[in-house]
Symmetry: C2
């Protein structure tokens, strides 16, 4: 799958992933109203509005970006109907040829991580049948529990040719509280980066490993160091745009080959119609605003090469 991601990034000339993080406040009123008219003020209505919103956006962006990253929390908050919309979104994006990164940030002790890996990347056996649950292409994983929390994901990646992005340095303001703490003079995130490099060594695609890393756009100096520490890890970069990261900060996240990183924008694209710049589209054409914002982002990122 890492080969497919790289190939899609090259084909579309866009190291960009669109975060499908549909907060209810982003969804145009006409969509929510229509869903409520149909289903009442229920979780089903919220989930239906999210689905309509996602589908319209995906239809506008699938030909210009290589990947999407649905944030599962935004679906989980609507309970079972929300999870159905998550699954429907994953399936629809795959149908449209997009690589799907499940932003699930799971991680637990060994046997439990194995179940999460099965849920999101692998398969489960029921009797003699082997079935898939959510079946994303990549998942994000939390490293706090160490190797035996990560290993089951790596095993499934190797088996299914899928991939993970391990949280190394996150984009949020307080990420430094633990991640930046110095261990023998070296920040913890660097130690995690070294482990990502080690975990990824025996599951390589053509040029990059199945094991990638999350490094926030908001910490470019650290991105530079981490690029060096994990030369074969694809870096998933959140925090561009709405969170404050700019394109010129991002060059160090890429390798000399112009590959090695994929930059995420969520709100900046899916809720573009709310920005002054894309206001002319109006909330009726939120999907076209998303396309325009995605094209602008692709151009912005291209400017650094």
């Amino acid at each position: 799958m890492i080969n497919r991601l790289v190939e899609q990034i090259k084909a579309k000339n866009a190291p960009v992933v669109v975060g499908l993080d549909p907060m209810l406040s982003y969804i145009p009123e006409h969509l929510l109203k229509a869903a409520i008219a149909e289903e009442g003020e229920t979780l089903e209505a919220a989930a239906e509005a999210v689905w309509q919103y996602n589908k319209a956006i995906v239809d506008q962006i699938y030909d210009i970006v290589p990947a999407v990253k649905p944030q599962i929390a935004m679906y989980e908050q609507f309970g079972i109907p929300g999870m159905i919309t998550f699954k429907r979104t994953v399936d629809y994006c795959k149908e449209k040829g997009l690589v799907v990164i499940g932003d699930v940030k799971r991680g637990d002790i060994g046997s439990t991580s194995a179940a999460y890996a099965a849920a999101h990347l692998g398969r489960v056996a029921v009797g003699n049948s082997v079935l898939s649950a959510f079946d994303e292409d990549f998942a994000t994983v939390n490293p706090y529990l160490g190797t035996d929390g990560i290993k089951p994901f790596v095993d499934v990646c190797r088996q299914e040719k899928k991939g993970i992005f391990v949280l190394v340095k996150t984009s949020n303001p307080s990420s430094g509280e633990f991640q930046d703490q110095l261990v023998d003079g070296k920040p913890l995130y660097e130690l995690v980066g070294e482990m990502v490099n080690a975990w990824g060594q025996d599951c390589m695609g053509d040029d990059y490993s199945y094991v990638g890393a999350v490094v926030g756009a908001t910490y470019p100096e650290m991105g530079k160091v981490l690029r060096r520490v994990m030369p074969k890890a694809y870096i998933l970069v959140p925090g561009y745009g709405a969170q404050g990261g700019t394109a010129k900060d991002l060059r160090p996240y890429f390798n000399a080959d112009g590959l090695g990183a994929i930059v995420n924008s969520s709100r900046g694209i899916i809720a573009a119609y709310k920005q002054e710049k894309y206001k002319k589209f109006g909330s009726e054409h939120f999907d076209e605003a998303a396309r325009a914002a995605a094209l602008d982002m692709i151009e912005d990122i291209a400017s650094i090469f």
Copy 2:
């Protein structure tokens, strides 16, 4: 909810929580066969078997233990049908008067953690209606992203009078890779423990905080230190039994008042019928074996006081 947990622990005289982590290999063949006969070899069949298994066990233990801890990964691996069983299990346990700790280990940047907190402990607004998604009483939370990943959970806890257990020192063999690293001469888990203590200070129940901690039974020396660092945090202790922790190791996790900790056993109880000791029950009476094992565990833990 922390008050209710303490009250239930006192009433049942059992600082014990049963982990509902139904791996398919634990489920007696007759249950899975019956479900497959009904639904075919599907995720629905697996989820139905898990539900029948859980329900039978809950019916046998609800009067002797204060709480259960469903591990959501074991449900998530069966996709939407699995999540329906998770929700059904949470609801049924609450109906039976049990305190429900959702072992979800979620954690993300601020706005996303807010969605997870809404999903598991809080509510979401759809139009003018305020609705619940999974609605557990407590959730486990991963601290790697720092305060702004935890804060939204704490806010929801305060509002809904619910609680969290933050991962401080986990029970697995490789937990030390990051958690034990020395930061200014002090292990990272201790630093996380100090933060747990700080986060919990302004959301106190009668004697304990809404913000608790996870500290594995497999590291009693660390449990001793962490008890002192977080005097008002309830400690959720995994790793007893199957993972190797013994009752005599657990005294330091409790305060002088005999409170302050609740010990989890999953496999050791729900799959007790597979152990030599409870073999006489046979797989047909797996639920009675679970009750016997829970009673033995309660007695074992009581022996340390």
